[in-house]
């Protein structure tokens, strides 16, 4: 196998705007961004509630969320598959092997990450912001929004981390998406397939894109931490 040749070919593919390659990248981005958009609001609400409110079962929920941080993504895939298969309880939705199923899977995978970050952020927030808002006559909702505004950088950091987790996830995406070319084939499943076919150039090109994403995320996080004054 010629590594240098494959790498050269990979960059040629990327730079020439190879349609198949860019479709895969676009599908990856689309699925992950929609999943994050769907998961973030409920995750932030839950994280806020866990940090601010005292209710029965709260501790169990916190432990559960922390445990779910390292939940195996293939198990998420397995559970979703069982739910979505034709004979499954949600079989009539006809979602298996569609982007919809992949979005569901990634939303479930990102949810605990987003929640844990929101929880930590709200817990670490200066309580005076909330108190001041209340004392100035803000409604509970308004006071909540003030607190969240105060910790927005930490919440956004959570979104970046969630993005990092789902954009590179292969198990669940392969199981419920089916790796269908042009429909549900995203960067990680394409890399797995190209490698198994022994076609390294496209795999390397996609790997480069994925690593650029990771680098971009960590640069963005660094900038955020600078701006948000996080320790």
């Amino acid at each position: 196998m010629d590594i240098l040749g494959s790498t050269r070919q990979a960059f040629a593919l990327l730079l020439s705007g190879d349609a198949e390659l860019w479709t895969i990248i676009w599908i990856s981005l689309r699925v992950s961004l929609v999943a994050l958009a769907a998961a973030t609001p409920p995750a932030v609400v839950l994280g806020y509630a866990l940090a601010q409110k005292r209710f029965p079962g709260r501790r169990i929920l916190v432990v559960l969320i922390q445990g779910l941080l390292s939940f195996p993504t293939v198990v998420v895939g397995l559970i979703l598959y069982i739910l979505l298969t034709r004979q499954g309880p949600l079989g009539s939705w006809h979602l298996l092997f569609t982007q919809g199923a992949m979005i569901m899977g990634q939303a479930v995978i990102a949810f605990p990450v987003l929640t844990a970050f929101a929880l930590a952020a709200v817990q670490g927030a200066d309580p005076r912001a909330h108190e001041t808002a209340v004392s100035l006559g803000a409604s509970p909702l308004r006071a909540t929004l003030t607190t969240l505004l105060e910790v927005r950088f930490a919440v956004v950091a959570g979104i970046f981390n969630g993005f990092g987790r789902v954009i590179s996830e292969v198990g669940c995406a392969m199981m419920v998406g089916g790796n269908i070319a042009g429909v549900t084939r995203n960067i990680p499943t394409a890399i797995a397939l190209e490698t198994s076919k022994g076609d390294f150039a496209q795999g390397i090109a996609l790997g480069v894109v994925l690593m650029l994403f990771a680098l971009g995320i960590s640069i963005a996080l660094g900038l955020l931490q600078g701006r948000g004054g996080l320790k």
Partner: protein, 275 residues
Amino acid sequence: MHHYISCLRSVCRIATALGLALLAQSLPAAELKLAATHTLVDSGLLNTLIPAFEARSGIKVRLAIGGTGQVIRLAANGDVDAVLSHVKAEEEKLVTSGAGLKRYAVAYNDFFIAGPPQDPARIRGIKDAVEVVRRIHDAKARFISRGDESGTHVKERELWRAAGLEPKWAGYLSAGAGMGSVLMMAGEMQAYTLCDRATFAAFRARTGLEMLAAGDPRLYNEYGVVAVNPARFPGINADTAAQFVSWLTSVEVQGLITSFRIGGQQVFFIPAKAR
């Protein structure tokens, strides 16, 4: 104190046992690295043949599974000792390029087009496979392609070429997966697919698909075995590979292959020239 010592002792004992187990694993027992195509594994045939070979020879078989394109490449790179696949031209190329020794026919069956019982493209009972893919194309019906350079995929492309059609419509899906996975997907999505008789039989109950169009001589599916050439790749297990090939083509194994049944049905046959 005493308690700790006895504890320590049992820890030592477990560590020794683990160490011995590891050692036994790494001892250079005779082994064979075999690359085989999805259909042979998904159908269950290799689950019968490999234990029989291991019991007979004492050789441990390490199996690499992939599409024909992939397993041929493994053999061409000397990453395995022998290869079992089902694209005769590719196997012969392996031999003529010097990477493989000699090709032996092992077994055959056939491909056919399977699909949902509703049969939206009305292909049931049509013998001409080219007419079948034309109807599927014209009906814009869902069709799942292996899309993985496997023997089945190669055969499917032959059909589109013979029909003079480009398989490009919204319902034509390229899965890049093994035969079993593709049958499961076709069952889920109520789609057509080209499949081999053995894997279809093994997955029939799970997919609910039906054999709709069979019998075209173009859909003949022959499996062959090639041992990798030790002159080209000195590091390989040439010995065990040679043993495997001569065992696989023996009358005894031909009996095993023809008596292999899925749901009471024979799904592999012995080619005349291998007899």
